[in-house]
Assembly symmetry: C2
Homo-oligomer: 339 residues x 2
């Protein structure tokens, strides 16, 4: 079988990491890279990604023409979070006849908050015979697919409580900044008041879980609070003083039938205590799942979620798809990996 032809669209930190994983997999062939940054255009993808070798493929900024030249089967799309900002990019990729796997958090489950967008992308994808999906670790796994998977052995489910605590200290600067690390409490409140702050995708996870379980949503209550630093902490990028903000705790509570049925609690902070992933299922049977000692490392897991979806998406029906429709996730091509 010929390897699957892949183009990486977006060569920021996540896109660069995707390139490295694609290069590891014999079943995948990296055929191009697209980025709108004029500083990147023309440079070799290997150089952009910090590889010790040239890949012989120059980054291009002229997306449509580049896609026509490269004819990828799949585009890994890692640019922006909001579907409003990526519709033109997705349209271009679909019109080039390629399947799209995107890290856009809103694309994981866009149907309720962006019905017009969802309809347009679904229709266009069907016209061009390609499938489009949004995935990642969160949304895409830790707070939606994994809890759903656990309910697969329940005859009834009364309530689900999902907790994810992420220590942003070892992670990238953008994650630290967008969760408020190093801000004063006043600056944090000011950011919060803009309405444009906090983790994107928690609501998408909640809507996906509720809809998939057939639970009508009465009401969603969301809160975002600062997590304060008690001691001085230094990351590779910044220092957080005691009394400054270390990160945030974002909680989403969803009612259905007059009862609280789903709680998603997410903390992302520098030096977070007891980083972990937990899922508590109240039902028959009731049980709790814990991934402790750091939880699922999000930096790598997002890349994995994107790449592992490739073989599944290309055999899915055309249209705007969700992770709930694809086969159960699993790693793609680890046979050659040595202990």
């Amino acid at each position: 079988m010929n390897p699957i032809r892949v183009v990486q669209f977006g060569l920021g930190p996540i896109g660069q990491a995707c390139v490295k994983v694609v290069l590891q997999k014999p079943g995948l062939e990296l055929v191009g890279g697209i980025d709108i940054d004029p500083q990147k255009a023309g440079r070799d993808i290997g150089e952009i990604c910090g590889l010790d070798r040239s890949l012989g493929i120059a980054v291009r900024g002229d997306g449509a023409a580049a896609l026509a030249d490269w004819r990828p089967q799949v585009v890994l799309h890692t640019t922006l979070s909001f579907v409003d900002h990526i519709e033109d990019q997705l349209t271009m990729i679909i019109q080039a006849g390629a399947h799209v796997i995107s890290s856009s958090e809103e694309l994981f489950y866009p149907f309720q908050r962006n019905p017009g967008f969802s309809q347009r992308i679904d229709t266009l994808a069907k016209q061009h015979g390609v499938a489009v999906i949004g995935t990642g670790v969160n949304p895409g796994f830790a707070m939606d697919i994994l809890p759903l998977c656990l309910t697969g052995v329940c005859t009834e489910v009364k309530k689900i409580i999902v907790t994810r605590v992420v220590d942003s200290g070892p992670r990238r600067l953008p994650l630290q900044k967008k969760t408020g690390a190093g801000l004063s409490p006043q600056e944090f409140e000011h950011r919060l008041a803009t309405g444009n702050f906090g983790h994107i995708g928690l609501r998408e996870s909640a809507l996906a879980v509720m809809d998939t379980l057939g639970w009508p949503v009465d009401e969603i209550e969301e809160s975002i609070r600062p997590v304060m630093a008690e001691t001085k902490m230094t990351t590779n990028f910044l220092t957080v003083e005691p009394g400054q903000v270390a990160g945030l705790r974002q909680v989403l509570r969803v009612k259905s039938g007059g009862q609280e049925r789903l709680v998603l609690e997410l903390e992302i902070s520098v030096g977070a205590k007891d980083p972990r992933d937990s899922v508590e299922i109240l039902g028959n049977p009731s049980f709790s799942m814990h991934i402790i000692e750091g939880g699922i490392f999000g930096g790598t897991a997002t890349i994995a979620a994107l790449v592992n979806t490739i073989p599944k998406l290309i055999t899915a029906p055309p249209g705007l798809r969700t992770m709930m429709e694809l086969p159960v996730p699993y790693a793609f091509e680890s046979a050659g990996v040595k202990l």
Copy 2:
């Protein structure tokens, strides 16, 4: 939408529990029950299942004629573990034009150990436009689908270690007996020597995981050891004296590429210490998942796995299917459940 017409084939403890769950779900309609036991034929299913009401449906032993009368869309099949023993039953159901979801452990992944059977069932199912699948909690979830799902966020997987420890004390007598509870060490060894002892399905779980991850199997090493009782323990059904067998520990180690890549450790014993489900993934990222405080309660989870598969299987392509091909598992119809 009309409810899905379901027949329960096999009215032992698992079949009876399935009936109760089917009756809870508005999207399912129980239209019949089949059992070969002449003691059951002619009696009302409600009575057989210990319900406080008659269902107005008499159990029948004449499978083919009963299926022709009831015209189910799906048959829940809970009779025997080995595919050799159920091929005639499956053939009858398929020829009646019904999808089949079976608790047969071997049917979860029969391709390698029973290729002739698998080919015949797959061909027949395709001829009749129906899908056939084997599932349950183990095999079907705890030691295969759940570990696979966790690898979905790994860019590489080096090794997987799955541990399931089940306290058989609160479970059914057949589980206690088939794991040796109450035997002397000598009797245990004697049973073991028959080659027909131990949990069925561990090898199917292993083969499913290896094949799905694309790991060629060099060698499978299997061991079964008794777990000895240290104190006197009494279940609803039997008493285990100190020095008698409380259950068994079954371990399967699989090598690929000269390295041990998969270890499945299963203990089922009366009074098992620290009953739990654990999955350790060595890879990128590495992480461990734990379901402690009893693990996933198998009695209910098997029923759930069977019933929750109904809506997914009826839209799957015809043929002999696996849980790795279906969408990620999740609970079916829990909207009406109250806290």
